[in-house]
């Protein structure tokens, strides 16, 4: 079956599934949204997504919906690329490989990771939609030296392609190496293209422009199986735990890197999935991740004490000096 036919068939499925999802949503009264249900504006709570990977059939409908929704944000690099110095700085060009869907690239912000695993004599074939985790305290946003990344109150983080210089620091500090670089595009071309910067970094922005309009991200809307749900944090977390209990499953993303706004629920432990998935550049792992910003946060708290320590030291010195001058006068 060709792709168009397959997608058309899937679209009919989307309609049927969406109808069921809307009916379910009305019946349960949840404020969460999955395929084709509008997202209600919520109080000041971040929106998080729940991915029930036991439901994912790996059809890549979400991948193509992501591409369609974000096509205008993709890079159109100018060629030939400027010669870069020193020679160790390599060109990263995905513009001729735009069709790649089996990993993250500047033109593919979501891909399906496949896992075949056997647990207690039961075989599982799981498909895991992978993209940016949208961390609660995202190192990519917080550590960008130019402020080219931003985090929004609704829990998403995104790269401003007008400002990014493509230094790739965000990728290096990301525990999952999510952002991907395209050379030959962006602000660096107008500065010192040969000596600083190397393009623009790209990653999932959780369809911020759709969310602004009250719509749900394209990948969630397009999913024929209702794998993803988006909603207010506490509500989604409750749902995730209920789902994990129901399937006797496991949760990933709730505590990783101090907490993320993407929660995976799987019937198979994530450390076992991590052993069987392809884990290389552009294909993120599923290992446990410590809170990368924790040490900085601890030191930031210590910084509050610092001025008092200085004041105390100066006062102590002055007090001791006055005591010794008193003794001298006596």
């Amino acid at each position: 079956m060709d792709k168009a036919k397959q997608r058309a068939k899937l679209s009919r499925r989307i309609f049927l599934k969406s109808s069921v999802a809307i009916a379910g949503s009305i019946a349960t009264g949840f404020n969460t949204a999955s395929a084709s249900t509008p997202l209600k504006a919520e109080k000041n709570e971040p929106l998080i997504t729940l991915l029930d990977i036991s439901k994912c059939i790996g059809c890549e409908e979400c991948v193509y919906a992501c591409r369609e929704a974000n096509e205008t944000k993709y890079p159109n690099p100018e060629k030939p690329f400027p010669k870069m110095y020193p020679p160790r700085v390599k060109v990263e060009d995905w513009s001729d490989k735009r069709d790649v869907t089996d990993r993250l690239t500047p033109y593919n912000w979501l891909f399906i990771q496949r896992a075949e695993v056997s647990v207690d004599n039961e075989d599982f074939e799981l498909n895991i939609p992978r993209r940016c985790m949208h961390c609660e305290n995202p190192p990519c946003v917080k550590l960008c030296p130019w402020g080219a990344l931003k985090q929004e109150k609704n829990g998403l983080s995104r790269i401003d392609s007008e400002l990014c210089l493509g230094g790739s620091k965000c990728k290096q500090v990301c525990p999952w190496d999510i952002p991907q670089r395209q050379t030959g595009v962006g602000l660096y071309l107008d500065l010192l293209p040969s000596f600083a910067g190397n393009g623009v970094m790209y990653k999932c922005d959780r369809c911020y422009n759709r969310l602004e309009k009250g719509e749900i991200p394209a990948c969630i809307e397009a999913c024929p199986e209702g794998v993803q749900t988006i909603g207010p944090k506490q509500e989604i977390l409750k749902k995730a735990h209920a789902l994990a209990r129901e399937m006797n499953g496991f949760i990933y993303g709730e505590n990783e890197n101090g907490g993320t706004n993407t929660i995976y629920v799987s019937p198979v432990p994530f450390d076992q999935l991590n052993q069987v998935i392809e884990n290389e550049n552009g294909k993120p792992h599923l290992s446990k991740v410590k809170n990368m910003m924790k040490d900085g946060t601890t030191l930031a708290k210590a910084m509050i004490i610092a001025p008092f320590a200085g004041l105390f030291a100066a006062f102590g010195k002055s007090y001791l000096a006055s005591l010794s001058s008193k003794k001298e006068n006596e």
Binding site: L143, M292, M293, A300, A306, A314
Partner: protein
């Protein structure tokens, strides 16, 4: 008195050197330009290491600055001493760096949101003040300008 000044200058010099180095290391340049390849300098390309170093030396700088400011007021003999023009310039730069840096530290805490334009402005102000302070330090060094007249 001289020994105290020498010790203070030493702390100031070491703090300024490492806080500047770890600050510049926030930009991905040391690896690109082979500096991190020099044996013993590999840590310059480790962003979490330089981040922690920058914070640690910021704490030392804040303690040092507040100590000196309060010591200036508590120690009566010091109030008769007049600060030089370059000292005033350096003090303004350091205060600006501490203020902008504190806001950036605040921004890095979980759940704290500053507007995107504020963050960009703070990043640029912080970098500009650092360059200004370095220029003032080198000028004082070359022209042998002291903190006090």
């Amino acid at each position: 008195m001289k020994k105290t000044m020498d010790f203070k200058n030493w702390i100031y010099g070491v703090t300024l050197f490492f806080i500047t180095l770890s600050g510049f290391a926030q930009m991905p340049v040391f690896k690109r330009y082979y500096i991190a390849d020099i044996p013993g300098f590999g840590w310059l390309a480790k962003f979490y290491v330089t981040h922690i170093m920058h914070y640690s030396f910021a704490i030392i700088l804040i303690v040092f600055v507040t100590y000196n400011v309060f010591d200036y007021f508590f120690n009566r003999s010091m109030t008769t001493v007049k600060l030089t023009k370059t000292a005033y310039i350096k003090i303004i730069m350091i205060m600006g760096l501490i203020f902008s840096g504190s806001l950036l530290v605040l921004r890095n805490l979980p759940g704290v949101f500053l507007s995107h334009s504020t963050i960009i402005a703070l990043d640029l102000i912080h970098l500009g003040l650092c360059m200004g302070l370095l220029a003032a330090v080198f000028y004082s060094w070359i022209k042998k300008k002291e903190w006090y007249d």
